[in-house]
């Protein structure tokens, strides 16, 4: 079965080459055999080197920092004091940390859920639209995607502004209630509703366009056959479209989790650079400890823990992704 859209043509060639080498193996000289074994690694090496340099080294530094007492004075002398796992012990004893973790997980779950549902719905809509409307909607999605985060935050900030916000004005004019001088951030629930709306709004285009690309690869005959057998729209989606696109959904969900788990800019800017504790997500918590309180070592430890959480969260998906590959 196809694992996703396009690219199937590459496989037979590779397989044929592999088979060919099997047959001729004994006759080849040693040097060439070594080269054949090593060549994939050689080809991978430049990319691996770049990743190691630009990602591996900073991560190494971050991890090292997390085992040190590193404050303002150390920042200037550039020499920290090794304190073992003290920073980590402090994190796990901090009540606030657990509150922040729970908040971050719930926030991520809500954001990812809404993004996937709305993204998929819009993709299904795209597949059924006429050419002009599809073009219009796609352009809209791309524009949203192209909007820089800081600009988007400012737009949302003005829309929900306490005094001049268009949202309060509209809701009042529609007689939904008296929303004049409604402060959306006074209550963290409504505050997070605004933040979630901003995140989901920004994340939908990527999901919608990717799922739409996937949908265009679902064989029309299969859907037609199912419909002839009397399947309803929902059943077609559940039993045909969804299983076919599962790898795409898995990767989109994983990526969304990674993105939403580390949301920082939106919260930080919407709260004027001084978010109340009710708005602290893990990234904000780490930033405040490191850069506001000058506890760089402790902040680094939080960042490391955050990365571990993300690995755990996405590990399940990674495994499943590889398993899908094995069985099909």
């Amino acid at each position: 079965m196809s694992t996703g859209p396009g690219g199937e043509a590459g496989f037979p060639a590779v397989t044929a080459a592999a088979a060919g080498s099997d047959i001729r193996r004994r006759r080849r000289p040693l040097g060439e055999r070594v080269f054949r074994v090593a060549s994939p690694y050689l080809l991978l090496a430049p990319a691996a080197l770049v990743i190691g340099a630009v990602l591996g080294y900073p991560v190494y530094l971050l991890t090292k920092l997390s085992f040190q007492q590193y404050g303002l004075a150390e920042l200037v002398t550039k020499k920290g004091t090794w304190i073992g796992v003290d920073n980590y012990t402090r994190i796990f004893q901090d009540e606030q940390f657990w509150a922040v973790v729970v908040r971050t997980i719930v926030f991520t779950a809500v954001c990812v859920g809404l993004t996937m549902v709305f993204g998929t719905l819009i993709a299904l809509l795209l597949a059924r639209l006429g050419r002009f409307m599809r073009l219009l909607l796609t352009s809209g999605l791309v524009l949203v995607w192209a909007t820089p985060v800081v600009v988007a935050v400012n737009i949302f900030r003005w829309m929900v502004d306490y005094e001049f916000g268009v949202l309060n004005w509209t809701l009042t004019k529609l007689h939904i209630g008296d929303f004049l001088n409604k402060d959306w951030f006074a209550d963290p629930t409504t505050g997070f509703a605004v933040i979630t709306a901003l995140i989901v709004w920004g994340a939908i285009p990527f999901v919608a366009i990717t799922v739409y690309a996937g949908l265009s690869q679902v064989p029309a005959e299969l859907v037609e056959a199912a419909e002839i057998d009397g399947a309803r729209r929902w059943q077609v989606f559940k039993d045909i479209t969804f299983p076919l696109l599962l790898p795409i959904f898995v990767i989109l969900t994983s990526l969304s989790i990674i993105w939403d788990f580390q949301v920082f800019t939106q919260v930080w800017l919407l709260r004027d650079g001084e978010p109340e504790e009710d708005y602290w997500l893990m990234s904000v918590y780490s930033f405040v400890e490191a850069f506001r309180l000058g506890e760089y070592g402790f902040g680094a430890a939080i960042a490391v823990v955050m990365v571990c959480f993300m690995f755990v969260a996405t590990f399940v998906y990674l495994r499943q992704m590889i398993r899908i590959g094995d069985t099909r």
Binding site: L62, Q69, E74, N181, A186, I251, D272, E277, I324
Partner: protein, 434 residues
């Protein structure tokens, strides 16, 4: 299978990127060259007394010919975060302004140039305001130069007070509240009207209530700091504050005094009074952003205490200028500071900026001017933040802001919000100094 491995690789790479992003700091300022000095001033100077900066730079260039002065204006919210990053990256400015509550940690960490041996070379050094000089002194050494001081007073609309039937200016907190209620009765039908415009996170106008009722932010007992905002007296002050703010203000309870600038909100007409610094008065009348027609109807008075006839203790704010140890142009930096804090600059700062200059020899300039007198009076009975080296961390962590916003929005009771803030203050102040 293979494409999925690629997907897995991409996923792993994305994870790593996020780890790096989580550890990345803020941007750094431009590299300095030998023919330029970089000066960080707070944006109060930009909106309040830019002429002082301009004339200082002119005088400096006249003396040093080819040396450029690059003044970069900073905001109070994040200037220390930026400074820390710049210090680490070796790109810190040559002259930097500190709030007088922020200096201790930097002096204790030996990040500021020791100026003790050349104290005498700075103008008026023998008559510097004592409170400011103290904020520049650590273990008997001098690390910065006093710049200005300021205390807040009530800036109000005389015409509205008169029309609402308020006679004279309030002499006690009870009278202040009664006057406010009269204003609300007269003008309160306008949805955005506030008799007292008081944004929820306005720390420096809130803490006076705590001190007026005999409370304190923190105390040092037997070598340990103890947050005391949850003491009965402090809670009494905060409760009174909540009562006044909820009945007289319709400002954003989770906003602060700088976004939007409260004097500009005042200039739009739907505000009876606000608690502000001297420079905010002329800013409200600014031709471009304010409303010059209010000139005749504006007045100021010192915030009254709950004890009739006394004034409420004001927070003695102020600023100092210092030279980071990393500066490569130290003697140029000292010279710029000398011009910036000269008698003529300070005189301008008092008249244009309506602040209290750094020297007692110029205090008469303020006392003679009826517009400045309420602010000068406010500074006579004043309080200061706890002098712990870690105090600035309490400010950076926005502990007081968060407490106030949860009190005013009703997210927490006064008592529980104060208890929580107090515990945080205790924890932060007793951490080892870094």
């Amino acid at each position: 299978m293979k494409r999925r491995s690629i997907g897995a690789l991409a996923l792993a790479a994305a994870l790593l990127v996020s780890a790096v992003a989580a550890s990345a700091g803020s941007s750094k300022p431009d590299r300095q060259s030998a023919t330029k000095i970089v000066v960080w001033l707070q944006n109060d100077a930009e909106s309040g007394w830019k002429q002082v900066v301009t004339s200082t730079n002119d005088a400096f260039r006249a003396k040093h010919g080819d040396v450029e002065v690059d003044v970069q204006y900073q905001t109070w919210g994040d200037h220390l975060t930026k400074l820390d990053a710049a210090l680490a990256g070796g790109t810190a400015p040559d002259v930097v302004e500190f709030g007088n509550t922020e200096t201790t940690r930097y002096m204790a960490s030996k990040l500021l140039q020791d100026l003790t041996t050349q104290t005498k070379s700075f103008p008026n050094s023998s008559t510097w305001l004592r409170a400011l000089k103290e904020s520049c002194t650590y273990n008997g050494r001098l690390y910065c130069v006093p710049y200005y001081a300021g205390a807040r007073a009530v800036i109000y609309r005389k015409d509205q007070y008169k029309a609402a039937g308020v006679k004279g200016t309030p002499k006690s907190l009870a009278e202040f509240q009664a006057a406010g209620l009269k204003l609300m009765k007269k003008y309160g039908k306008q949805r955005n009207y506030s008799a007292l415009y008081f944004p929820g996170r306005y720390v420096w106008a809130s803490m006076p209530f705590v001190y007026d009722y005999g409370g304190k932010i923190a105390e040092k007992k037997g070598g340990r700091w103890q947050g005391t905002l949850d003491s009965p007296k402090a809670v009494q002050g905060l409760t009174k504050l909540k009562q006044i703010v909820t009945s007289l203000s319709r400002a954003n309870k989770t906003g602060d005094e700088a976004n939007p600038q409260q004097s500009l909100v005042f200039s739009k007409g739907r505000v009876g009074s606000f608690i502000g610094n001297g420079w905010e008065w002329p800013y409200a009348l600014d031709k471009k952003v304010g409303n010059p027609s209010l000139a005749k109807s504006m007045g100021a008075y010192t915030m009254p205490s709950h004890t009739k006839g006394k004034s409420m203790p004001a927070f003695l704010g102020g600023s100092d200028v210092a030279v980071p140890v990393t500066s490569k142009n130290k003697s140029l930096a000292y010279d710029w500071i000398r011009i910036f804090t000269s008698t003529s600059s300070m005189r301008q700062l008092a008249t244009i900026g309506k602040q209290i200059p750094n020297t007692t020899s110029l205090l008469s300039v303020n006392a003679k001017n009826p517009q400045l007198a309420p602010f000068a009076n406010a500074s006579k009975s004043s309080f200061f933040v706890p002098t712990a080296p870690n105090w600035v961390k309490v400010e950076n962590a926005k502990v007081l802001q968060n407490m106030l916003s949860s009190i005013f929005t009703g997210r927490a009771t006064v008592k529980s919000a104060a208890k929580r803030a107090s515990d945080q203050i205790t924890r932060i102040l007793n951490q080892p100094t870094t």
